[in-house]
Symmetry: C2
Amino acid sequence: MAENKKLVEQITSRDEDFAQWYTDVVKKAELTGYTSVKGCMVLKPAGFAIWENMKAELDRRFKETGVENVYLPMFIPESLLNKEKDHVEGFAPEVAWVTHGGLEPLQERMCVRPTSETLFCDLYNKDIQSYRDLPKLYNQWCSVVRWEKTTRPFLRSREFLWQEGHTAHATAEEAEARTVQMLNVYADFCEEVLAIPVVKGRKTDKEKFAGAVATYTIESLMHDGKALQSGTSHNFGDGFARAFDITYLSKENKLEYVHQTSWGMTTRMIGAIIMVHGDDSGLVLPPRIAPTQCVVIPIRQKAEGVLDKAGEITAALKAAGIRTKLDDDNSRSPGWKFADQEMRGFPMRIEVGPKDIEQGVCVLVRRDNREKIVVKIENVAEEAAKLLETIQKDMFERAKAFREEHTFEAFDYESFKKAVDEKPGFVKAYWCGELECEDQIKADTTATSRCCPLIGGEAHDGDTCVCCGKPAKKLIYWGKAY
Amino acid sequence: MAENKKLVEQITSRDEDFAQWYTDVVKKAELTGYTSVKGCMVLKPAGFAIWENMKAELDRRFKETGVENVYLPMFIPESLLNKEKDHVEGFAPEVAWVTHGGLEPLQERMCVRPTSETLFCDLYNKDIQSYRDLPKLYNQWCSVVRWEKTTRPFLRSREFLWQEGHTAHATAEEAEARTVQMLNVYADFCEEVLAIPVVKGRKTDKEKFAGAVATYTIESLMHDGKALQSGTSHNFGDGFARAFDITYLSKENKLEYVHQTSWGMTTRMIGAIIMVHGDDSGLVLPPRIAPTQCVVIPIRQKAEGVLDKAGEITAALKAAGIRTKLDDDNSRSPGWKFADQEMRGFPMRIEVGPKDIEQGVCVLVRRDNREKIVVKIENVAEEAAKLLETIQKDMFERAKAFREEHTFEAFDYESFKKAVDEKPGFVKAYWCGELECEDQIKADTTATSRCCPLIGGEAHDGDTCVCCGKPAKKLIYWGKAY
């Protein structure tokens, strides 16, 4: 027991020092690694496999809505980046510039894409002529670069992996419908697969994407009470189309500008999984995203028949489609293996020893609440599958209850400031709609407007701005954020 | 008929102008697109979907051999690239350099990865301590950049997509075995999935990878008789390990250098599919890699029951796992649709009209040889599945026969030069092993040594070098290459 205690002791207590706990979990679960490339992370097998599962789930959902995958260049010539004014202002300060190709200086420097609106516009300008060419529903999986000063694994790094969808439509209505549709895809994915409850909402003008008419967002709450922007979907109207001259000939033979959207989700969500579900023993992965869903750990594995039975159980689970590993390492004790499994966040383990086998049973142990369930070996695959579903559901419900317990309301500025200061979480408060108040709140509390929720976001007669006291226009979720 | 004739006429004849034919096919099948980023290609949905299928097939095969996926930074600091002498000499002249991050110049410039040996070494230096950490069997899917002067879609572009496997092993024997194992994975993939026969062989010292002890290659033959290097697998010995100080403590408690390999395959293989299988009507995709395997085309689709029956057939094929589309576009004639299907290379179409329906049949038309097969509608899914397998097999056999007909032997320099000059294809000829003769052959004929075949590559007593006439060491496949 000393050995596995030591394993776990290497993880800082979550309540004592959340930031250090996070770093410890990322490291001990071997999700990322480091090279001499400053500010850029390595996704090691355990981390990358989570991304692969996210990718498969999202990609399937995108394709069900008609989206097609493409790949565009990673470089953007400076003149192309400069074409849309708001956009270049938003991104130019944080891009990496390529100035030499081979041994020669480039005639025009190029940045490594921080996002690819300008490239998709360049392509659409060439590829869209007629209403028959619409809609374009393109997506790409790639990495992007933003030259951040301070970085943290998954949450902020100079290069990160993401997908970026870019669509072009005949009408403003279609573009708006697609923007909201993709927000819903993200929200369903987070809740159903990552077991992370989200608030769907719209960003204020201050917080919206550079060049967008409207930015929709899903916001989730981490265990330390900070908010994390978890996915965004932007409606560009015809702003980019005007800047890049993307027109089509309508059925009525009129030349019209297209209406565009973009939407993205990133490896940052691996950070969200850690910060929503993790505990003092390490990572806790929701079953649907876990690369390994179950580890079978033999007890007294040298005893006759134990390893065989553990192998049979492993095979039965695999045959039922459960991602299962047998941990038959001779040089480690079961206690060490339990601690290791908990640290890596595998949702379930199965313990099986000579006494269990005598009785024809084995023990399923849940990672999320450590509950032990004795089941008949003959039913193990069925019971394991059921239990994984239960774990998935319970993890979501627990995260949702946590968020609800950490969502507060404030109707005057003193209680608002007190709430932000003393109660980590979201604070719901009315707002007049003026940038001045939004800036004031940020200056006074460091909280930012996360979003105006899609449901219940309108203010009613008599509601007043929590900052200036004037009539309110919107309800806003405020919070300190990553 | 005029309409579909016109469609096809837009493709140059393959035998008249192979290069223009290639460009036409790429364009008409909508595989790639262009932006203002010079020398970099866009993979449009039809092109990217082929890559997605290649990726899925290869990834599964890699994982079956124990390989795990990771992701490493896209940037390489100059000092890191410089660590292995041969390697930097090979790549430095063709990399793109990032010199500024955000608004500030970088302290040290970084290149965008042309390949990631140096980064994997940097990671392995940190992550490998003991024999317990070995082997490392990592792979990544990413894009790389090489600043080429002249570019062609798929075959040579400044940025391309690939996978790069990088492994580290305890012994030289394990590294060599892995190098050959991955070559075999590539060869099987090319032959079984892409229907492209390959010659497995070893590169001469002149042609091997910068920093490798041995480079293995698979070489395929395009329809114009030029060779295409289709996948390479490198054994680095402990050269990189010495340059990057990657050591491990052995079971015997001795500090040893690791032995490494790397291996890669790229989007270039989409070019190979085009150039091996395509014809004057456009692309011809092998069924196993085709994103759309079958198009159902209703004849007289406004006639009662036709569209319903075409829909039923489509559903039956989909249910059988055949990637099928129904082309029910009202504004196009069947003839136009046939030409369109042929241009895009879908391996099979199904025609069904009122007369067919009366008789309870439909017509399967093969893309590869245009053969028509009438089948009962009730058996259509089964017949279609069988036919796709036949097409796959026939395409491979046809390509193999073509390669055999275009593989020549030469025993003296005059007939060698004549063969290279007059008979497009491989020329098999003995070689003394001296760089001087290899250079001479290239200077005289533009043919390069493609490989020494793994089977039958040794010279026997009495065999003489085709160039200098001295005793031969090896049999070499020579050819002009892409």
